[in-house]
């Protein structure tokens, strides 16, 4: 069998803070094929960024992988030395950070920052690197690339800076591009430009993308597969159509219901998910979503639900899928 591009199994990751252990990831498993676009959605603190950073070995102190394995392109990421990691980062996996204002170095020119990546990872000469940098800026749709190369980040607008970030990420043609909320800091019209650009680049360069976002609208237009995260668990995973049209988990359903619809023609009331987000310092026993769930059963408060396969590509962790069984057997109540 062909090896998956990315294979994460049962990843547990915690931050050991003075206040106690914060369990950021509690058994995350998923895999990705080459050329796939995966969307990870969830609220702040659900562990979506932590998952992505751990793929690059970028877990910040005091965070530590407790157990589980991350295999990228046939290598165990947590067993790689710092030197090997450096080789991989930017070359095979690249990341676009959320805030284009702070992720570029203000004291170096744009050209300098793009060339740095190329010089570090390839044996191109300075001249060749410059030429490549110019090509990259053209690729991401920046006009007058010659002039831009000599400019500093503060001379560019937010959308422009995000384009530069993308060109840096693409400099070595990575197999996997991680986009961590790439458009959250941007205005809608600029967001539309960047999303169009990413779609276009993906078909041109044939790479895999992990798109991290809290905006269901962004994943709907970009992604084939979607993973929904809540409190460090992937609670539901499936194709875009399955997630939007046949959601299995109560959290996913709640999320879809709580966004206001733009094209409705009558005033309607929003259906929010009640309660507050989980406190990761003392997560609830059983299903993490149970305290906010409208159809919570007794078993939900006691035990973490098991994986239920709803189709070949679609699974979710919720006891409700087995409610009928419980009612027949009467065991769980």
């Amino acid at each position: 069998m062909k090896e998956k591009l990315l294979d994460i199994r049962d990843e547990y990751l915690s931050f050991f803070t003075p206040a106690g252990e914060i369990k950021a990831l509690n058994g995350v498993s998923f895999s990705m094929d080459e050329g796939e676009v995966l969307g990870i959605v969830g609220e702040s603190g659900s562990g979506k960024s932590v998952t992505a950073y751990s793929i690059m070995g970028l877990t910040a102190y005091p965070g530590r992988l407790v157990s589980g394995s991350i295999r990228f392109n046939g290598h165990e990421v947590e067993k790689m030395s710092e030197k090997e990691l450096r080789k991989m980062r930017g070359n095979e996996v690249s990341i676009i950070f959320q805030d284009p204002m702070t992720s570029l170095n203000p004291v170096y020119t744009i050209g300098n920052q793009i060339e740095e990546v190329i010089l570090l990872h390839t044996d191109k000469t300075r001249e060749e690197a410059k030429k490549r940098a110019k090509e990259l800026l053209e690729l991401v749709g920046i006009n007058e690339p010659e002039r831009r190369l000599k400019q500093y980040p503060h001379e560019l607008s937010g959308g422009m800076r995000q384009r530069v970030m993308i060109s840096i990420a693409l400099a070595c043609e990575p197999k996997l591009l991680i986009a961590d909320e790439p458009t959250t800091a941007l205005d809608v019209t600029i967001q539309a430009q960047i999303l169009e650009l990413m779609k276009e680049l993906r078909s041109k360069l044939d790479m895999s993308i992990i798109m991290i976002t809290h905006d269901l609208g962004v994943v709907a237009s970009m992604c084939e597969k979607i993973a929904v995260m809540y409190a460090g668990h992937i609670v539901e995973y499936g194709t875009a159509d399955e997630i939007f049209y046949e959601p299995g988990h109560e959290y996913t359903k709640g999320l879809i219901k709580s966004i206001p619809k733009l094209n409705s023609s009558e005033p309607e009331r929003l259906v929010p998910i009640e309660g507050q987000p989980v406190d990761l310092l003392n997560p609830p026993k059983g299903c993490p979503f149970a305290p906010r769930c409208g159809s919570c059963m007794k078993i939900c408060l006691r035990e973490m639900p098991e994986k239920t396969e709803l189709s070949e590509t679609h699974y979710s962790y919720c006891w409700l899928h087995r409610k009928a069984e419980f009612e027949k057997g009467g065991g769980a109540e």
Binding site: T189, H214, A220, S265, P277
Partner: protein, 354 residues
């Protein structure tokens, strides 16, 4: 619109911020330039636009948190600010002129705001930065009660604080805690309780849900609606998320680079927008529905918003507009009524067709 129902109105509002330079070279950021609108009692007016379009400045200037550069603000029939440099308006919205066609100017006015602060309040965008970390929730909410001396005794003050907290879905035990002990959604509730403490009629909601997660956002939006029903509040709801604004507002104003470009009933605006900027704004919103998203044809605007330090001549949108021509460069379009209650400012309304 009948003058009787109007709670708050701005006319020719202008707000320039100095941005360096001296004498002749003095430069200004033209944050808000000649904006006029009125809000009826019990109504919610939404303001949308990209960052830097001046929507927050409009909200803050209406409360005179900034002193307007020019224009007139009328609250409940009384002029609370008048620069004395802009023409008065007739009932139909046109500028008042005397017999010789010269505009009739207002009288320069700037009233003491304290009595109006009770009636006009604001909820800020960032629930992390707008609460004093060294004050308890009770004191934050109670501050307005102290300033306006609206409680007769300590017990009355405390009861009032608790009833306000209950109003926004918190309870009495929260009163002795500090802001850092709360999540974003809860903090925003505290911000709302603080605004309600003065017992206002009009609240400027400045991006109150932008910093919140979707599931919490819906809770807060519903709460705004409930409070409006119970207390008969009037809102100016500012946000960049058009779907949220459409959900909560009766009417929506769209701003671009300091100018109002379109103003209409919210359903009308989404379904039958006429201004090219509004149209592209609506089409840029990612729809949370894969089939629609795949089928949708986006109108992607080219380029970025120009700098408000040096806005384009004539129509501000012309540098990104597919319909722009010489007229747009030469002359600034005025608001025209397209259909009843639907206003737009564009020279080529008849041509716009996507």
């Amino acid at each position: 619109m009948n003058g009787q129902d109007i709670l708050v109105e701005v006319q020719h509002l202008q707000q320039y911020f100095p941005a360096g330079g001296h004498g002749k070279n003095k430069r200004f950021v033209k944050a808000v330039d000649d904006v006029s609108f009125a809000i009826k009692k019990g109504e919610t007016l939404g303001l949308v636009g990209e960052s830097g379009c001046g929507k927050t400045t409009v909200g803050r200037t209406m409360l005179r948190l900034y002193e307007p550069t020019d224009g007139r603000i009328i609250y409940d029939g009384k002029i609370i600010f008048d620069s004395g440099k802009c023409p008065l308006k007739n009932d139909d919205g046109s500028d008042m002129t005397d017999g010789n066609g010269k505009p009739v100017l207002g009288k320069k006015t700037a009233v003491d705001m304290l009595p109006y602060r009770r009636r006009m309040q604001i909820v800020f965008q960032d629930p992390y930065a707008s609460l004093d970390p060294r004050m308890t929730i009770g004191d934050i909410v109670g501050e307005a009660i102290d300033i306006h001396r609206s409680a007769g005794s300590k017990k009355e003050r405390r009861d009032r604080i608790i009833s306000l907290l209950e109003c926004v879905g918190l309870n009495s035990e929260h009163a002795n805690r500090y802001p850092h002990e709360f999540s974003g959604g809860q903090r925003q509730r505290v911000g709302i309780a603080r605004a309600l403490a003065a017992d206002p009629q009009f609240i400027v909601c400045d991006e109150p849900v932008s910093a919140l997660d979707v599931s919490i956002q819906a809770q807060v939006v519903n709460m705004f609606e409930d409070l409006q029903q119970e207390m008969g509040l009037t809102y100016l709801f500012i946000a960049h998320d058009l779907s949220v604004v459409k959900h909560i507002s009766n009417r929506i104003g769209v701003m671009y680079l300091g100018k109002m470009v379109e103003l209409a009933d919210s359903f009308e605006l989404i379904a039958h927008s006429v201004h090219p900027y509004t149209k592209s704004l609506i089409s840029a919103i990612p729809v949370a529905d894969p089939n629609t998203a795949r089928a949708a044809k986006r109108i992607t605007l080219q380029g970025d918003v120009p700098s408000p330090l040096n806005p384009p001549s004539g129509c501000r949108f012309r540098t990104r507009c597919p319909y722009a021509d010489e007229i747009c460069a030469g002359e600034c379009p005025q608001m025209k009524e397209v259909s009843a209650g639907h206003w737009a400012a564009c020279h080529h309304l008849d041509k716009v067709d996507y």
